[in-house]
């Protein structure tokens, strides 16, 4: 293959602005170069502050952050690669069961269980991702993801000798973190642990979505045909992000198993996959923070609705979904996003 370049850089005189200005503009647009915006720092500082100043809420906050990480994992495939999944709960549930089983049969050390839970889900993601490429239709993908989740639910239900079936997995016990921090009743260690893991995974995800690889995913989402003709190996890229997303979901599930020290069939139920979609949509798709913000909103809504009608809060969740779609997701997300851009972009 020839190695020549069509245009050698810098030889064409640039009109108007000085080249350096243009470079700066191009760089700003390619932008998300890893430079942190004030609002992002603020977000994570607030999260850190919640650890110190809201000790009564640690149990609830742990739930929020785990749900947020789960939604973030979905954002990787839905927001960045455009894959609509109705079965993301499969990876969450698998991660939870593996982490629970590791603590019973192998070791109570939390990081081992976390890693193995994530890995198991990642392997399942990698193994099932090719099914998504059979036909790039949303319906087929929906059915494949849903089918795998249902399969797993049935498997866990029937394999009672391993999973405890409908009674749930009994006897999960997690040792102190680093041998020092015991998982206490107030959820303080749990929250610190979940928050730290989520932050770390967020950093990695942020790096990945702003890389050329991340850009190629957005291109695939926008127009897979054209991505193909500029030489993007669409299939391989999708398998990779789906695997990563599955791994993230598995880790979220493992966190839930470890912090609650219990795993039940509920982790694999359909409503998990549906809830996480709602969470992500509430916060906005495709900018990584959507899952985390959506998780906060979701838990607040859940709280409000269960005080109005404890048994029927699902009705209101359904209504919220319907209303969101009828008003238009763009319009709803535009409000916080506009604010976000204003803060992020500074005075512009």
């Amino acid at each position: 293959m020839s190695t020549r370049t069509a245009f050698s850089p810098g030889t064409v005189p640039l009109r108007g602005a000085a080249p350096t200005d243009l470079q700066a503009r191009a760089l700003r647009d390619l932008g998300r170069t890893g430079r942190w915006r004030p609002a992002e720092a603020l977000f994570w500082l607030a999260a850190l502050a919640s650890f110190f100043f809201l000790p009564d809420q640690h149990l609830l906050l742990t739930e929020v952050v785990i749900l947020g990480l789960f939604a973030l994992s979905l954002d990787l495939v839905l927001g960045y690669a455009g894959i609509v999944s109705l079965g993301h709960g499969a990876f969450f549930g698998l991660g939870a069961y593996v982490a629970g089983l590791v603590s019973i049969h192998l070791t109570g050390e939390p990081l081992t269980g976390l890693l193995l839970g994530g890995l198991a889900a990642g392997v399942l993601g990698f193994a099932t991702a090719p099914l998504l490429l059979l036909r790039a239709s949303d319906l087929t993908r929906l059915m494949v993801t849903l089918g795998i989740a249902m399969l797993l639910y049935e498997a866990a239900n029937k394999a009672a000798w391993l999973t405890g079936g409908a009674d749930g997995l009994q006897g999960v016990w997690i040792d102190p973190l680093f041998g020092r921090f015991e998982f206490d009743l107030f959820g303080t260690t749990a929250y610190g642990y979940a928050l730290a893991v989520t932050f770390l995974l967020f950093l990695i995800a942020r790096r990945i979505v702003t890389s050329p690889y991340g850009l190629s995913l957005r291109a695939i989402r926008d127009n897979a045909l054209r991505a193909n003709t500029i030489g993007v190996p669409v299939g391989r890229r999708l398998v990779a992000i789906y695997t990563l997303s599955a791994l993230y979901a598995g880790i979220a599930g493992a966190l839930l198993a470890q912090t609650t020290m219990f795993v039940s069939l509920d982790v694999l139920a359909f409503h998990r996959s549906a809830d996480v979609l709602l969470v992500l949509v509430l916060g906005g798709v495709g900018y990584l923070y959507g899952g985390l913000i959506g998780a906060i909103v979701f838990k607040l809504l859940q709280d409000v609705f269960s005080t109005i009608t404890p048994e029927y809060w699902m009705f209101w969740i359904g209504l919220v979904l319907v209303v969101i779609v009828l008003i238009g997701r763009d319009r709803i997300n535009a409000a916080p996003l506009a604010l976000w851009h204003r803060i992020r972009g500074g005075a512009k």
Partner: protein, 295 residues
């Protein structure tokens, strides 16, 4: 079904299971036929299809148990109530979503399912709705040594009539031709003077009505409680995806395969549960990503 151990290879029993499976499959097809049109032909992902089946099932159960109507007399209501609600929902809500991304359609219809499930629970309680079939539909009769449930035979006859009728309407009538034209190319259809809105609304209404009728016919063998739309959502979707989006023949075949596989699976390998069905779906989609009968 308790004599499984001694008679697993009994051909008469296998025939009974086959007939049970066909009855179940045909019922599934009637339930899912509306979805085969909206999802298969119109490419609209409607996860709330089961909600209309729920309305039909409850219409029959309530009219029988509270108003004392005979089973057959409730069936027109089981069709009309969801058909009417379907028509209204199509004109006011669904119509706005035809051109929206699939994600929006998924979210919207999941929302409707959640609302329908909790609303049914709130209005009528979470218990199973039970009905007593008329005497002439109870029990079994023997045909050439094969035991056949009367209700199963009734289902097969009714559903077969519906299938033939549907296929006739879709392929032989002016309405069917207009619907196919509208689905293929809305703009061209409008150019030909076809009122696409009315066509879609009536199609949606009939599809919802058939789902309701299916729900009513299914109370006896599928059960009917508020979670029905969620429990059977996957089955309806499988019928359409596995069947393919070319018309009704594919979904009909798929429904029969799933019906027979499910009944046989529950009989011969009850420990697998619904496992079989999901596995079957994934295998078929691997072998035929476009469904059994592709466009």
């Amino acid at each position: 079904m308790s004599t499984a151990t001694t008679t697993t290879r009994d051909p008469a029993l296998m025939l009974t299971i086959l007939i049970d499976g066909i009855a179940y499959g045909m019922l599934l097809f009637v339930l899912a036929s509306g979805l085969a049109v909206t999802l298969g032909l119109m490419n609209f992902i409607n996860l709330a299809h089961g909600a209309f089946a729920l309305m039909g099932g409850y219409a029959t159960a309530l009219l029988m148990n509270r108003a004392g109507l005979p089973f057959l007399a409730t069936l027109p209501f089981a069709f009309l109530v969801p058909a009417l609600i379907g028509a209204v929902a199509e004109r006011t809500l669904y119509v706005r979503l035809y051109r929206r991304p699939h994600l929006d359609q998924v979210l919207f219809s999941i929302g409707l399912v959640f609302m329908a499930v909790t609303a049914a629970d709130w209005l009528f309680g979470s218990q199973q709705q039970l009905i007593t079939l008329p005497a002439w539909l109870q029990g079994r009769f023997e045909l050439a040594g094969v035991a056949i449930g009367r209700y199963r035979a009734f289902l097969i006859l009714v559903c077969a009539a519906l299938v033939v009728g549907l296929q006739f309407v879709l392929t032989r009538t002016r309405f069917g031709a207009r619907l196919r034209a509208a689905v293929d190319d809305q703009r061209a259809a409008r150019g030909l003077g076809i009122n696409v809105g009315v066509i879609f609304a009536s199609t949606f209404a009939v599809g919802s009505g058939l789902a309701g009728l299916g729900g009513a016919l299914g109370v006896e063998i599928l059960g009917m409680d508020p979670t029905f739309p969620l429990k059977f959502m996957v089955y309806f979707l499988i019928v359409v995806t596995v069947g393919g989006t070319a018309g009704l023949t594919g979904p009909f075949l798929a429904a029969l395969i799933i019906g027979v596989a499910d009944v046989a699976g529950k009989y011969y390998a009850p420990e697998l549960g619904a496992f079989m069905i999901y596995l079957l779906m994934i295998v078929i989609l691997i072998l035929r990503p476009q469904g059994l009968i592709a466009r």
